[in-house]
Amino acid sequence: MQSGTFHTTYAADMALRPYWPQRLRIALVLVAVLVFPWFADRYWLNLANTIAIAAIGAIGLNILVGYTGQISIGQGGFMAVGAFSAGLMAARLGMPMWLTVPIASLFTAFVGAFFGLPSLRLKGLYLAIATLAAQEIITWVLTHGKLLGIGESLSIPRETSNLFGIPMTAIGNPDFAFYWVTVGCLIVTVIFVSNLFRSRAGRAFVAIRDQDIAAQVIGVDLFRYKLLAFATSSFFAGLAGALTAHYRGIISWERFTIDTSILYLAMIIIGGLGSVSGSIYGAAFITLLPALLSNLARLLSGVVPQINSYLPYMQQGAFGLAIILFLIFEPEGIVKMWRNVKDYFRLWPFSY
């Protein structure tokens, strides 16, 4: 067990994951990720895809909220932009998925940067309220979608979901085939974002979060980096939205309301603000919680027959309660709990 930092070279000091237990854990997780789909049924594959997409969105939001300190309640709206632009390109122009997803993500990055403009004048809760307005306005545009040629919902032709000409059906059932797409995107996102915060831009984001005036004094261009943070964050929101559109095959605005924004905020709060792995834990927690409760309800429905009619409220209540309890008892989230566990074993038997 490693008990301290004993780097002897700069390369070791700069490494993203310098210690062998970390590398071992990553290797184990990668093996698990590669092996999982061959054994899982479609229910679990569907959950895994949902978690992977949610994790991409949560990492995106964490760039903005956790790392740059700009509170946003507009994540649902930005995901809607990604989903609907990808969906429209696929449905109207018949463009394939490997084109619509990156284009939609880039477009969302621009929209996000636009709605990030108020951040130049506002901060803290005022910015949060401004993004709330952005969310409501995007929702309104979508519900009155006749302007854009969208009805109540938009269906995306299955044949557009292909990878460089190879139809998804050639790989297996949709859940299995999409597993590789969503998890692949998640891995790329994780590598990109983990390294982002070792770069100039990422350091600038963190400086803005910690003290924006001090950051400006040492030469961080607030205007540029705040917009960049909004754009990067929205890029991943758009990616998550576009993947949702292709994976579900049908989208409507109801999937991207303010409740979605809140869901994503909850993910990063519960997982851990300013942490890439925390975003993934949070996404998994928030996605698995309702699934867990409905399985529990199915088990108990023999004993308590009315339980199924209470299920939606149980899920909603558990969600609210989870946020409150985490904020009161572990404000740093799952990532901190996991770190405590690691520290316990590392320092055992001398815990002080």
Binding site: V65, I71, P118, S119, L120, R121, L122, K123, G124, L125, Y126, A128, I129, A130, L132, A133, A134, E136, I137, W140, T143, H144, K146, D212, L222, I258, I262, L265, A266, I269, L273, Y310, P312, Y313, M314, Q315, Q316, G317, F319, G320, L321, A322, I323, I324, L327, I328, P331
Partner: protein, 293 residues
Amino acid sequence: MEKLVQLTMSGIANGAIFALVALGFVLIYKSSDVINFAQGELLLIGAYLTYMTVEQIGIWWPAGVVVAVLLAAVVGVLIETLVLRPLIGEPTISVIMVTIGLSSLLRAIVGAIWGVTPRPAPQFLPRDTVTIFGASVGVDKVWAIFLALLLFALLTLFFRFSREGIAMRAVADDQQAALSMGISVKRVWAVAWAIAAVTAAVGGILLMSIFGGVSGSIARVGLLVFPVVILGGLDSIPGAIIGGLIIGLLQSYAGGYLPPELGMGEVVPFIILLLILLVRPYGLFGQRIIERV
């Protein structure tokens, strides 16, 4: 002309209700710096508690309303002590998120007890219409305006003359100084939440009476509180009232005069919100202490 009067009256009535809800929001913000995203759910709770006491238990309605409002005040105090107090000194995002979590929890509780299907509400306000400037206007709207005004007057007297009210003003003015003068800030926060719950409950009851039913959609008004308080100024009570009336009127006019299929009534408040934030973030009457970037 007829349409104008009708729209104006319903705008003022809605605006008065918005103002009531915003007033509670501003009180909480002024005394404890908490942005309450669960304000809409306080409306919901007030409305459903009244439904419970009057319709389900069958108490004579004025008594039932009073009981429901008192229960709402208890809920407000409980929320403050159980949920908000452990978060004193935490960053803004934590406080915002905890009220968001609270709103989800409260909605779930209300849903589990009363379900989601709208239920016919007990009728308190008379249903007939009066003619004002040649336009027929529902008497319930006039009553809603009157009751909201009455509550504002009572609250003004409370802040001016009562011991608790003066303590609240002191805390809002300078928390440190108030503490050193022996004012219990915790007690002031509890009172602020109680008053916020009461004003929201009255707003919920009025909405219930105007809609003629209770349903989860009442909580939707909670989001409209943001345009109102930002327009009026986050820390200004007159601002909450005037902001409420302006937003109510604009929403009513936008919904009535612009093509209905656009549904402008829903989005106009938020467009105003964005404009105000960009041009004058402290609102019409707020203190200019916003940290600029």
